[in-house]
Amino acid sequence: LNAAPGRGPRQRVRFLRAPAPGGGGAVELVAARVPVLADHPLVRGPRFRKLKIGAGHRLDVKASGVFVLGIGHGNKLLTDLYNCHLTKVYTVGGLFGKATDDFSDSGNLVEKTTFDHITREKFERILAVIQGTNQKALLMYSNIDMKTQEAYELAVKGLIRPMGKSPPVITAVRCLQFALPEFQLEIHCLHETQQYLRKMVHEIGLELKSSAVCTQVRRIRDGVFTVDDALPRTQWNLQSIQEAIRNCQLKVETELEKTL
């Protein structure tokens, strides 16, 4: 970053002494544009010594996926995006038949159970119940007075969501794959942690009278940022970062305007 050509030095109009056209020792003042000495690279030093980088929503060690970072002035946009309370989308992979103490497949084994009685129908029924109870929680924590007409209008469009602090709420769940003993879910949620999602997989297992552990948590969308915008490890260089910032600028601005 420091090697890239920065802004040129500021120019200032100064009156310099110059020999008069007449000759002799007379000196007159001539206006000229001169670079300010304070902007000289040797005086100023490298432009960037520290960079402030802030992180968006947390992603823990065992999970993977989209992780939003803000650089410098972008940190202010991060707080604004947090206040928008946009949903995040995860693909969660699970495995039936085991129960561990930290709900993931690398924990200490607590119990093993049978799972051959589980069918896709029962599974989808449980998912429908989860969605139903979370729908209720969505309306309750959004702090809108249910008796008003505008609450009804928002509920019809499905735009009610908690705009303040709230416990984790799941707005939608869908079963992507189901092949005993493995399954994969797509979960849209708000204010959650990855451990909460793993606990949910465990509770789904309990509800189906068996047990389940979570094998994979991958965030595929965080508000406006999707996997396509995200930079993989091979592209962690200045060029791609700058390009990515430029591409996402417009999206972030429109989203902030729409919500706030």
């Binding site: 093993k112 029924r125 249910m146 009804y152």
Partner: protein, 434 residues
């Protein structure tokens, strides 16, 4: 194998894997695990209509009487309940078993709407309030062969439909709603009389109780009515009492009716072609689309252009219909379900399907049944979810909140809701566990 001088250390991966494979496997549910049928109740409990005696008379010192049960509460029943009905302060549960006891009742019994419940303290008198589901003795000719198909409850009377012994009626008969002649100064409390009705043109397949009248639908598609007629709810062309079930004509003459509904003083019927017919009270614009009169005593066709109607339900002041496409339409007066601004309408208005759980994620969610209480509505979706809206009288909506609900709201029930019966201030639902 560990040497004596070697420290224990954390288990290596191989040891962990071996321990895991050697762990015992527990089985909680077999492959043929059956889903159990359960009954959930909620609402006002002091009348005994919820069937939980500990709400009214606590069985332990530290328990307090529970006047209102705001969320669904499981009612333990020994038999599988196939049909339930809520009246004005009482409930009937019926099972289609071949055992001798087929119908249970609980709640108000001041007019013997639950039959004669012999009091244990005084063998000659009956209970006025029945606090837990008690069997109702029906005078059946073949008690071990006949099955009870359906029950229905009105303000102070009840109807029990059997498969080959006709309809049994009990309770108040001051307006002839039990289908027998009105006896002056008859005392209904502690009465043993259960009347049997068999004279219809074909087998009765549905019985419906309005507030003080009764409707019978036969297999041939005809409708019979008896009871109070001052609002024209008997649909027989006059405003008098009818004490014998009489056939209805008017716009439904010759039409094959597949469903009738009533709970207050207005009645709706649905034909096999998807047309809606109405008669009875129209003070709340229920029939204002065809007539300005507030009492309609002959069935009239309601020309709504909303598509083929599959099911209709009548409440006290509002009506709801379900079309073949799965759309729900409401009209009438009161909290209709489209926000606080819609208080009355004479023409049906659709409730958006997104309020019933339809979304891009579950585009095949549709409403399967609609039911009405006196000022509440209930809708069941094909995914087994129950949505309620309307006036939350003494916690009857089951949402856990005390406020009225102006748009459809989910009721959290631990199971798939198969059917629901709505009353004035309580509701009963039949649920299948997961």
């Amino acid at each position: 194998r560990r040497g004596l001088g070697v420290a224990a250390g954390p288990p290596s991966t191989r040891q962990l894997r071996e321990a895991e494979e050697a762990a015992p496997v527990f089985q909680y549910a077999g492959k043929a695990a059956k889903r159990k049928d359960r009954v959930f109740v909620w609402g006002f409990s002091y009348s005994g209509a919820l069937g939980v005696p500990s709400f009214v008379r606590p069985d332990a010192d530290w328990k307090k009487p529970r006047r209102i049960q705001p969320t669904p509460y499981r009612l333990e029943t020994e038999d599988k309940i196939s049909s339930a009905a809520c009246g004005y302060g009482f409930t009937l549960l019926a099972s289609n078993t071949r055992d001798i006891t087929k119908v249970w009742g609980m709640g108000l019994n001041k007019d013997s709407q639950l039959g004669f419940q012999r009091s244990r303290r005084d063998q000659t008198k009956g209970y006025e309030y029945v606090l837990e589901p008690s069997p109702i003795p029906l005078p059946l000719e073949k008690p071990q062969q006949t099955r009870v198909l359906q029950v229905s409850c009105g303000r102070a009377h009840s109807l029990v439909l059997t498969d080959n012994e006709g309809v049994f009626t009990m309770g108040n008969n001051s307006y002839g709603q039990c289908g027998r002649k009105v006896v002056e100064d008859e005392i209904y409390s502690g009465s043993h009389l259960i009347h049997q009705l068999k004279e219809f043109d074909s087998r009765v397949v549905q019985v419906v109780c309005g507030q003080d009248h009764s409707l019978f639908r036969t297999k041939k598609g005809t409708v019979y009515a008896c009871g109070w007629g001052a609002d024209g709810q008997t649909g027989l062309g006059h405003y008098n009492i009818t004490s014998v079930p009489t056939k209805l004509h008017g716009d439904i003459a010759g039409v094959n009716i597949i469903q009738v509904s009533s709970y207050g003083d207005c009645c709706l019927a649905v034909s096999d072609e998807g047309d809606v017919f109405g008669w009875g009270n129209s003070e709340y614009l229920q029939l204002a689309s065809v007539t300005e009169t507030t009492q309609v005593n002959i069935p009239r066709h309601l020309p709504f252009k909303i598509g083929k109607v599959k099911e209709a339900a009548c409440g006290g002041t509002g009506n709801v219909v379900l079309t073949e496409e799965g759309n729900v339409f409401v009209w009438g007066y009161g909290i209709l379900g489209k926000g606080p601004n819609l208080i009355e309408t004479a023409v049906p208005e659709m409730i958006p399907p997104s309020l019933f759980g339809w979304s891009d994620f579950s585009p095949d969610t549709r409403v399967a049944h609609v039911r009405c209480g006196l000022s509440q509505f209930a809708a069941l979706t094909n995914k087994g979810e129950l949505f309620v809206w309307g006036k939350n009288l003494r916690g009857c909506l089951g949402t856990g909140r005390k406020e009225d609900q102006y748009f459809p709201w989910r009721v959290t029930v631990p199971g798939e809701v198969v059917d629901v019966a709505c009353g004035v201030d309580h509701m009963v639902s039949m649920v299948r566990s997961f």
